[in-house]
């Protein structure tokens, strides 16, 4: 299943919980495979991510019209998000692994505090390494907007990291 992990990762960052991410990813792939079963290979990734995003937004709209549905961006901050994750690196001593895990938790916590429009651009750029043009297509905004969101996202992230670090040291 090509790009499943990338799609699911993006869905996790959009929906902020595993259950909704799974639903969004599944629905997105059904649409993708139904409409364009011939799309394969690396060129498909930005396109798959665009469908994931559109699926997420559609469900959000639907949830607003039918309040019984549970998709709600703010309420579903997953309790386990970030746990078990650590910064990429080789196997090392227990102390180093601890330091690395703490860094990952810090970064992820800070990332979650960045506003959604800037955060999704950051994720698409740094995790999926998409070009500005590809990101602009996925988020359906001009390249200039993508650039300013990315700039704002990185700046805000740095501020959040410093703030969180201060809190920890206190």
């Amino acid at each position: 299943m090509p790009h499943l992990d990338a799609a699911y990762t993006f869905a996790r960052w959009l929906t902020r919980n595993a259950h909704d991410a799974e639903d969004v990813t599944h629905e997105a792939f059904v649409r993708a495979m139904t409409f364009f079963p011939s799309h394969q290979g690396n060129e498909a990734k930005p396109w798959v991510l665009a469908i994931v995003r559109n699926t997420y937004l559609t469900r959000l709209q639907r949830a607003k019209q039918h309040p019984t549905e549970t998709l709600d961006e703010e309420m579903h901050e997953s309790a386990d998000s970030g746990l078990g994750m650590s910064c990429a690196g080789e196997l090392d001593s227990p102390e180093m692994a601890l330091v690395r895990k703490a860094s990952a938790q810090l970064v992820n916590r800070a990332l979650r505090r960045v506003p959604p429009d800037a955060r999704e651009v950051l994720i698409l750029r740094e995790l999926e390494e998409l070009s500005y043009k590809e990101i602009a297509h996925i988020v359906q905004a001009p390249i200039g907007t993508v650039m300013s969101r990315l700039h704002r996202g990185r700046r805000l992230l740095r501020e959040e990291l410093e703030r969180l670090d201060e809190e920890l040291l206190r």
């Binding site: 996790r12 990429a88 970064v107 043009k133 040291l169």
Partner: protein
């Protein structure tokens, strides 16, 4: 190119999204402008932090299996599929063709490898670390600089923590320089001493609430290491000097003596 303009395009510059001409102009500006250089370094660090530390997920098994077997699909998903089929049939005459102009560099391959697991991660980690390290170790300050007389204020401008070492060291041990570095995927502060003919380097980074470590020592490839924790910071001293001498230096430098 002026600072104001450089600031606006700095993200695009480090993301390699600028035209060749614009990129060269920024490079030229950075060579002579310390402030913009620092901003660029900070941007790169933030970028690498996200790249290395942001959570990546693997699609759960339940998701994979539900995609391949429609019989296990829950009812609402099946309804969606049927609706999608009907829509697809209606849309077929005006099928969309999506074309992306890709300028994909194969640094991406390294990123993909890093997600694969520990066996593939070693080389990728080293390569990325060396890359980041080259960017953050370009500036070395020291006593010889004249204008900068103590490392604390220099670190304050560059890191979000400040290594604490005693100023008074006796003859035989001299602080000759300091810099930042990238170790274990973190920005660290580095203090460089000379004890006679021996170089002693101390790496410092925040413990982030990790447990306090007792003074620990180790040996690796002919070098001695001594670690300690103090004030929320982790210190690691490395030198080829003999173990006993390194211990005495650590006691002096950490203010414990």
């Amino acid at each position: 190119m002026r600072c104001g303009h450089v600031k606006r395009v700095l993200d695009a510059y480090i993301d390699a999204e600028l035209s060749r001409a614009d990129s060269d102009a920024v490079t030229a500006h950075l060579q002579s402008c310390d402030r913009c250089s620092e901003s660029a370094e900070e941007l790169r660090v933030v970028r690498e932090l996200v790249r290395l530390c942001a959570a990546r997920y693997t699609g759960p098994a339940s998701l994979r299996s539900s995609m391949t077997s429609s019989r296990r699909m829950p009812r609402h998903r099946k309804m969606l599929t049927n609706a999608a089929y009907a829509a697809a049939l209606a849309l077929r005459p005006c099928r969309l063709v999506v074309v992306f102009a890709l300028s994909v560099t194969f640094a991406i391959a390294i990123g993909v490898h890093m997600q694969r697991g520990p066996t593939d991660g070693g080389l990728a980690t080293e390569v990325v670390s060396a890359h980041v390290r080259a960017m953050v170790t370009s500036q070395v300050a020291g006593i010889a600089d004249g204008a900068v007389s103590n490392p604390q204020s220099w670190f304050l401008d560059r890191l979000h923590f400040v290594p604490r070492v005693t100023d008074s060291v006796s003859a035989g041990l001299q602080l000759v320089g300091w810099r930042t570095d990238f170790v274990a995927q973190q920005m660290v502060g580095v203090l460089m001493y000379m004890a006679g003919p021996h170089a002693v380097t101390i790496f410092v980074w925040p413990t982030h609430g990790g447990r306090r470590l007792p003074v620990a020592a180790g040996k690796m490839r002919g070098y001695n290491l001594v670690n300690w924790t103090s004030g929320g910071l982790f210190y690691c001293a490395v030198s080829d000097i003999d173990e006993g001498a390194l211990y005495r230096i650590v006691l002096r430098v950490s203010g414990a003596a």
